[in-house]
Homo-oligomer: 349 residues x 2
């Protein structure tokens, strides 16, 4: 049994790991400056998102799963930093694809520097991520380095597929979607790179066995969906200063969230027709009244409540899977993973 | 001495290697289909550029350098295919960044499917490239696989820096540029991924020594610039059906080519002022008369002739470096590399 009184505070742990990882990124993994003016600006752009505040959940999961699986924290820091680099480049590209205005409380990179330069800076960060992963060789050896990279490859493949599904639904004006479509999309778009990938990468670094990796896959895929549902809920009802994105951005972007799909299922044919017609408009053509109408229907049918209940169920299933694992390492770390699972659906930011 | 009569025809060799590499890409490295409609479309988009005709110079260089350095062609095919994948994803992104309309004689990917989906498909291909490189392990072993990936990392880093330089000049309306700026940009943007990277990767696969790699770096960096100059020239004076891009696209895009920089240096202050003001206009605001004016100045000062003479000099220096190398493998392959160097600046497509 873990003594809960001696367990470090989850958010402090996340902050501690995040700070170690950020230092690695900004002092070792990314170039600082160049005598060529344009190249110098590229480096500055690459260092922009890594310098903005963020929760650091993914590196925390990687490092903590490594410890739970019997490894040392130091073994996993580089891999955890590469997970953050992944998050940085994919957010730069997502923000362009979604036409987002804000990221982490400041204008998105393409709003500061043009889409063309931001797109290329995302590619540059993407390549640096793989370059940094290669340097795992010194501490993990060639074989384990390649295993880590294989997991990265799986994680990025899933994420681009999920991203395409979501964008494709918006562009194809598809509304013939049910809950299972949302789960398919969300498992790919969010679960792999937010929970399953980071946890499994930590376990791989520690030399975890196949059963542990399988378990972390199950844990991560379920918890990732629960995490995304809470993200969707916060986008509608959260404090945008804490959340770092514009309020109700998902409605402006036409995102198919579980909340929205549930509301559409419950709504009357007339309500549904009007809501679909609003959601299908281009971002710039949606009025405040349009968005209010959709928000009121969401409230009328308690769609946020419904989605949060589903998220809570998935979180419990995920914790069940986690408890079935036979950890070889630090039991406190395993308890922290469970604390994170609760945080993922209870957080307000 | 190589018997030139028994040397295979360069273009036939390029075609043969290209065809082997394309088959590998389309049957083994890229997924074919998915039961999920949107994911299936993503796969179709990923297979689009790889299905369009192209010269296949880069895989040819990789395979041929491998043979010259003492390796077997089969050892290098996977790496050569990954070089093609690199070319595919970076072209998708470049076409978005430059606002290009045509690629290889057909509409650019983002013109067919929207910028958002094309951007994401480029990311998906980028990740598949690294995933495919990992599978070198089976034939090359873990250590050599990591060395290949390290060279890839260097190659992609240089390319994104060169791309940023070129975009940054256009966006910053910079015209205070000389020949040496062009070479700096071009070495990064073109030389690494077109010549230096492919040749060195072939040699690394074959287990080539440090001296060979250094020599191929020198050969590749010079020849790459010469290749780009010829590309710039063909963009102005070439047959756009053969070349696969819209005629004078570089002038519409405001590219700083050696041809243009030389013309500006030779032009009278009035000519220069008008040319710069035209070149600085946005693509859509340039008239046919604008472009004709710039083309006439280029002709008046024989700027294409000047640039081609510079390209020919660099090609000769590159061949000098190549001849100084002590090849351990197939001498015919080494002769083919030299034949390629001439082709790079003499080609009409």
């Amino acid at each position: 049994m873990v003594n809960l009184h001696s367990m470090p505070d989850l958010q402090k742990e996340m902050k501690r790991v995040k700070s170690a990882v950020d230092q690695l990124i900004l002092t070792k993994l990314l170039p600082e400056s160049s005598p060529i003016r344009e190249v110098d600006l590229l480096y500055k752009m690459m260092r922009d998102y890594p310098s903005r505040p963020a929760k650091g959940m993914r590196p925390f999961l990687c490092v903590t799963a490594c410890r739970a699986a019997g490894g040392e924290e130091g073994m996993a820091l580089l891999t955890a930093a590469c997970i953050e680099l992944f998050q940085h480049w994919i957010l730069i590209h997502d923000d362009i694809e979604d036409g987002s205005e804000l990221r982490r409380g400041k204008p998105a990179l393409h709003r500061v520097y043009t889409e063309a330069l931001a797109l290329n800076a995302g590619d540059a960060l993407h390549a640096r991520m793989w370059g940094a992963l290669l340097t795992n060789r010194t501490s993990l050896g060639a074989d384990r380095t390649l295993r880590v990279m294989k997991e990265f490859s799986r994680m990025v493949n899933a994420t681009t597929e999920g991203q395409h599904m979501e964008l494709g639904w918006v562009q194809g004006k598809r509304w013939d979607l049910g809950e299972s479509d949302y789960y398919e999309m969300c498992t790919r778009k969010t679960s792999w790179y937010t929970v399953a990938g980071p946890c499994r990468l930590g376990a791989i670094v520690a030399g975890g066995d196949k059963r542990t990796l399988e378990g972390l896959r199950g844990f991560g895929l379920k918890l990732g969906v629960a995490f995304q549902i809470q993200d969707d809920a916060l986008n509608l009802v959260g404090d945008s200063r804490k959340f770092g994105k514009a309020k109700s951005d998902d409605i402006f972007e036409g995102k198919r969230t579980l909340i929205l799909l549930h509301m559409l299922e419950e709504a009357s044919p007339d309500e549904r027709r009007r809501a679909v017609s609003i959601m299908s408009k281009e971002r710039s053509k949606k009025t405040k009244e349009d968005v209010s109408f959709v928000l009121e229907l969401i409230q009328k049918y308690d769609a946020v409540g419904y989605a949060r209940r589903r998220a809570a169920e998935m979180m419990k299933e995920a914790i069940g899977t986690l408890r079935g694992l036979n950890w070889k390492g630090d039991r406190t770390a395993a308890a922290l993973l469970e604390a994170f699972a609760r945080f993922a659906v209870e957080r307000e930011w």
